[in-house]
């Protein structure tokens, strides 16, 4: 199968996963029931659309970050943007008690602060190592601050809500959540989709890329803003959902090759399919409550990834 055929297969997979996400649940959607259209329009459709956009953004930003940092271990989590967004959200949950718009705004503000700090730390030049170090330090700091906020929380019952929220889920996300997050997710996807050519050149190293006319400083801005806005909106709408950005590009590299630009579209599609399928499985798990999406993602992703690692033992990895 050539590249076009493989992409078509991924598109069909996304379509199937989207359809599954629309009908699957503790109650399979009964198409002839009078409640069906309300459930469909107000719950299932926004949830599936949010999963689609979120997965596409996470998969794409993983592929872009791995290409930009020339590091196969990179994923949106390394920037510290998601943990910083989570810090903002946790503050609101514990001390304002609000949800909805306040929570979204706080998480976006947290992500924005992380972006500003990253910008300040890497201001003097595009440097992949500085970028990773800055992100790692930021993650540790915001993680510690989150733990600190939880420890001094006035209301112990709110802590359970925070822990639940931190694991990330699409559960009960409605039209309002979709409307708030979608513009940011779409903007992020559009920004990141234009980086392929520069990422290809970067595989020769920074000096060679610049000699090919690539503005690496500008690329760093696009990557930082594109990932920050997308991940910030993602965290604000659904909590922290890891693994997608790390795993999806690796799963697709054997099929689509190692050239960064060849991986962008497949990674967006693969991320969307993975999130939609995982979210559907969350609803189908036994028990009264839904399994959290962040948990399901690791449960599906990790064994799959390990299997891939085992199969490729001894082969060049990147």
């Amino acid at each position: 199968m050539n590249r076009a055929g493989r992409i078509l297969a991924l598109v069909l997979l996304v379509a199937a996963a989207f359809a599954l996400s629309l009908v699957a649940g503790k109650q399979w959607l009964p198409w002839d029931s009078p409640a069906a259209s309300a459930i469909f329009v107000e719950l299932r459709l926004p949830r599936a659309a949010l999963g689609l956009l979120l997965g596409a953004m996470l998969g794409l930003s993983g592929a872009v970050l791995q290409g930009f940092l020339r590091n196969p271990l990179a994923d949106p989590g390394v920037l510290g943007v998601s943990s910083s967004g989570a810090l903002g959200a946790v503050f609101v949950i514990l001390y304002v008690g609000a949800s909805g718009l306040a929570l979204f705004a706080a998480a976006m503000a947290g992500a924005l602060v992380a972006l500003l700090v990253l910008t300040a730390l890497t201001w003097r030049g595009a440097d992949a190592v500085a970028f990773i170090l800055a992100g790692t330090v930021l993650s540790s700091l915001t993680g510690a601050l989150t733990a600190f906020l939880i420890a001094i929380a006035p209301n112990p019952y709110a802590v359970a809500g925070v822990l639940d929220w931190l694991m990330g889920a699409l559960t009960d996300r409605g039209l309002a959540d979709l409307a708030r997050a979608a513009p940011f997710l779409v903007a992020s996807i559009v920004l990141l989709a234009f980086t392929g050519r520069a990422l290809d050149a970067l595989s020769l190293g920074e000096a060679a890329a610049r000699s090919l006319g690539i503005r690496v400083d500008r690329l760093q801005w696009v990557v930082m803003v594109g990932t920050g806005v997308g991940v910030g909106a993602g965290v604000a709408a659904t909590g922290v959902i890891g693994f997608v950005g790390l795993v999806v590009p690796h799963l697709l590299r054997p099929l689509f090759g190692h050239r960064p630009s060849d991986l962008l579209l497949p990674s967006a599609l693969g991320g969307a399919a993975l999130v939609l399928v995982a979210d559907s499985l969350c609803r189908l798990a036994p028990g009264a409550a839904e399994v959290r999406l962040g948990v399901a993602m690791a449960l599906i992703g990790a064994p799959f990834f390990l299997m891939l690692l085992l199969r490729r033992r001894g082969q060049a990895w990147i």
């Binding site: 050149a201 970067l202 060679a208 000699s211 090919l212 006319g213 190692h258 990147i318």
Partner: protein
């Protein structure tokens, strides 16, 4: 049109690495840039390629400052082959060579007839045509060096600045690669190459720039510069000259 650096000073991370360097790289000639480690050879090459901003002084191509050229135009004109031969992803050799056409291609445009012809010609010139479908990780050091050279040639630059391209090559491939650079100069391309091997420099260079401590210690034609006396003064080594040739070989260390 010569590529000329005037009174060029450059700092790296706050440390000055070039001090008031004056160098003229001429089209159709091979200029070897020689000097001890840390002399500023790579920095000179990068500054000449427009990749390091000068603190003082200028780099001009014809009547234009290299800093005033757009990235794309500069990339179409000057090909730069870095010392670091790392390729970060396991691309196919053919895709790697195709990267050399990036400055000539519009965004999202598929490779044109001209692009394909330039890629094929570059791979033919470096005898890498049969490697096109091989992943880079499977290439030998010599094959990889040839593929990376083909990447630069695919851009059909009018200037080729190569930083220690012989590093991973055996003697036969060293001679092959240098002969290719000679051939490019014969076609009118300006070639500047950082070398460590004095004998190879003597064999192929028309002009020589000798660097030491971020300054030009001597510059001129190879015949003028590659004398035992000049080399002894710059490299702290004694040299012997092969009979009936201008090839010099270091044979001893001079204590300073």
């Amino acid at each position: 049109m010569d590529l000329i650096a005037r009174d060029l000073s450059v700092s790296l991370g706050g440390r000055p690495v070039l001090h008031g360097v004056d160098v003229a790289l001429r089209r159709g000639r091979v200029t070897a840039i020689l000097g001890p480690n840390g002399a500023g050879k790579s920095s000179l090459l990068k500054a000449a390629a427009g990749l390091l901003p000068p603190q003082t002084g200028t780099v001009t191509l014809g009547d234009r400052g290299i800093g005033t050229m757009g990235e794309r135009e500069r990339a179409q004109t000057i090909g730069y082959l870095p010392q670091d031969a790392t390729v970060h992803w396991n691309l196919h050799a053919g895709d790697l060579v195709a990267l050399g056409r990036l400055p000539h291609r519009a965004r999202f445009a598929a490779p044109s007839q001209d692009d394909r012809a330039a890629i094929a010609a570059a791979m033919a010139a470096t005898e890498t045509g049969d490697l096109a479908d091989r992943p880079v990780a499977s290439l030998s050091g010599g094959e990889r060096a040839r593929v990376l050279l083909a990447r630069v040639l695919a851009g059909r630059p009018r200037w080729l600045l190569a930083d220690e391209p012989l590093a991973s090559l055996d003697p036969a491939h060293q001679i092959d690669l240098l002969d290719r650079l000679r051939g490019l100069a014969a076609e009118g391309v300006g070639v500047a190459v950082v070398l460590h091997d004095l004998a190879q420099a003597a064999r192929i260079a028309d002009d020589v720039v000798l660097m030491r401590d971020g300054r030009v210690a001597a510059a001129g034609t190879a015949a003028e510069i590659l004398s035992p006396e000049t080399i002894a003064a710059v490299f702290d080594v004694t040299v012997a000259r092969l009979p009936e040739s201008r090839i010099v070989v270091p044979v001893g260390r001079i204590a300073r």
